[in-house]
């Protein structure tokens, strides 16, 4: 696994932030100047890749591609995968990404002003496409297996892991780099801000994202890069890979309903499908990493779906978005990483800012403080615009 996010530029930093309940949310003053309702955002700096990649490779990477690259370097290193392995094996890539706003805007600005498309430069097209992350990383790391991007709104990263899991399970691939990436810049989420979807509780940024709390008023946009190496058990054992956890279930569904307002039935079905696929009993799931983005309706309906599915049994439920904000296209992948870090280090990070439940969250077991606990399996939800739902179940690996 590898991570580059507002709560850590590597796994150790992210683990410490989760353990200590440290928020990565802050203020971007530029957004206020641009007329945003909310200037809240995850705060992370762009990595300096000059000593890591040549000019051509750097130029073709957009912002979120840089984050994904950093996360992937860490993931391959931790997985014990080097250039020689990549040379000899057909390693694939499935990454969640659903926009690349900044390069598109920059290119159009130049074309409008200069009336000469050549002045956009050579790298723009490779930065602008939704498949920018997979096209760049597959070239940089010389990947020769499956290679495409999954655009499933805020469930993109989760679906990427789910599809990777299925391809390995069906025997089509032995090893796939899965993940999610999300740009963080003043252009990326302007139209989203325009829907009044973001929290405007700017006076204390660390308190703005309050999933499941009665006073929640919207999400905080964020982003970065999250990479996981999915590998068949046989391949991992054969090369002596350090196995961190096992993806055991993938459930999905589509609401077939409103374009932005989530419902209860779709998420419920996604959870049920994942549980069935994993063949796991409800009581074995000790922790749920909720999608809960801190929006009034989304959190309410997810809480209802979880309550219905778990039917009286109450595993711990938290949303790490209380610390990270909503990492959108990346969130489904990063939250599996955060949850695995917690599972392998025997704690559940606090659901920050959870002070007063509403009628649905009062039925869940949501800790506002860190819980020190050993657990062997977790469930991770990711839902997106258009009613796309993805649920993953991950177990601790036991040799």
């Amino acid at each position: 696994m590898g991570i580059y996010s507002c709560i850590g530029k590597n796994l150790d930093e992210a683990k410490d932030a989760l353990y200590n309940g440290k928020s990565g949310i802050g203020i971007d003053p530029v957004r206020k100047e641009m007329g945003y309702f909310s200037s809240l955002t995850g705060i992370l700096e762009r990595p300096d890749l000059k000593k890591m990649l040549d000019r051509r490779k750097r130029h073709c990477l957009p912002e979120q591609g840089e984050y994904a690259y950093m996360a992937t370097v860490e993931a391959f290193k931790n997985a014990g995968i080097d250039e020689a392995f990549l040379e000899k094996n057909d390693v694939g890539i499935l990454y969640g990404n659903d926009s690349s706003t900044s390069p598109v805007i920059n290119a159009i600005d130049i074309i409008r002003e200069k009336k000469n498309t050549a002045l956009v430069g050579s790298a723009s097209i490779f930065q602008s496409m939704n498949s920018t992350v997979t096209m760049n990383l597959s070239v940089i790391f010389k990947l020769r297996g499956i290679n495409f991007t999954i655009a499933g709104a805020c469930a993109s990263g989760s679906h990427a892991i789910g599809i990777g899991y299925l391809l390995i399970k069906l025997g089509y691939q032995d090893c796939i780099l899965c993940g999610g990436a999300q740009e963080v810049n003043p252009y990326a989420v302007g139209s989203f801000d325009g829907l009044s979807a973001f929290s405007t509780q700017e006076e204390d940024p660390h308190k703005a994202s309050k999933p499941f709390d009665k006073k929640r008023d919207g999400l905080v946009p964020s982003g970065g890069g999250a990479s996981l190496v999915l590998e068949s058990y046989e391949s991992a054992i054969k090369r002596g890979a350090p196995i961190l956890a096992e993806v055991t279930g993938y459930g999905f569904s589509s609401n077939g309903d409103h374009i932005s307002v989530p419902n209860v039935d779709g998420p419920r079905k996604s959870l049920q499908n994942a549980i069935k696929d994993a063949g796991i009993s409800l009581e074995e799931i000790k922790y749920i990493n909720a999608h809960a983005t801190s929006t009034p309706v989304g959190d309410l309906n997810e809480a209802k779906a979880i309550s219905e599915v778990f039917n009286g049994y109450k595993p711990y439920v938290t949303s790490t978005k209380s610390m990270t904000g909503h990492e959108m296209w990346m969130a489904g992948a990063s939250e599996v990483i955060y949850s695995t870090l917690m599972m392998n280090n025997n704690f559940i990070a606090p659901n920050l800012n959870f002070e007063e439940p509403d009628e649905a969250s009062s039925l869940l077991n949501i800790p506002a403080q860190r819980v020190d606990i050993e657990f062997d399996a977790f469930l991770s939800n990711s839902f997106g615009f258009g009613g796309t739902n993805s649920t993953l179940i991950v177990r601790k690996f036991k040799a």
Binding site: R55, R56, K114, N116, A118, L119, V120, G121, S122
Partner: protein, 85 residues
Amino acid sequence: MTNEEIIEKIRTTLAEEFEVDIELIQPEALLMQTLELDSLDLVDMVVLVEQNFGFNITGQDFTEIKTFQDFYDLVIVRMKEKEAK
């Protein structure tokens, strides 16, 4: 701008953009090979010239350019033409 100043600006700009040692940029050295340019990089040359010297070149112009001296000559001529307008 004198011709010498134009040439020095070209050398500095190319060295910075294409990340090569400026000492490799000599009049008789081959431009494409020295800068390790491919077809995509030629598009960036178009941008570089427009941003730094204020005129447009096309891919066609590069068919005539072999050495850095050829490139200096092209830029100097176009700069003089621009000034004359």
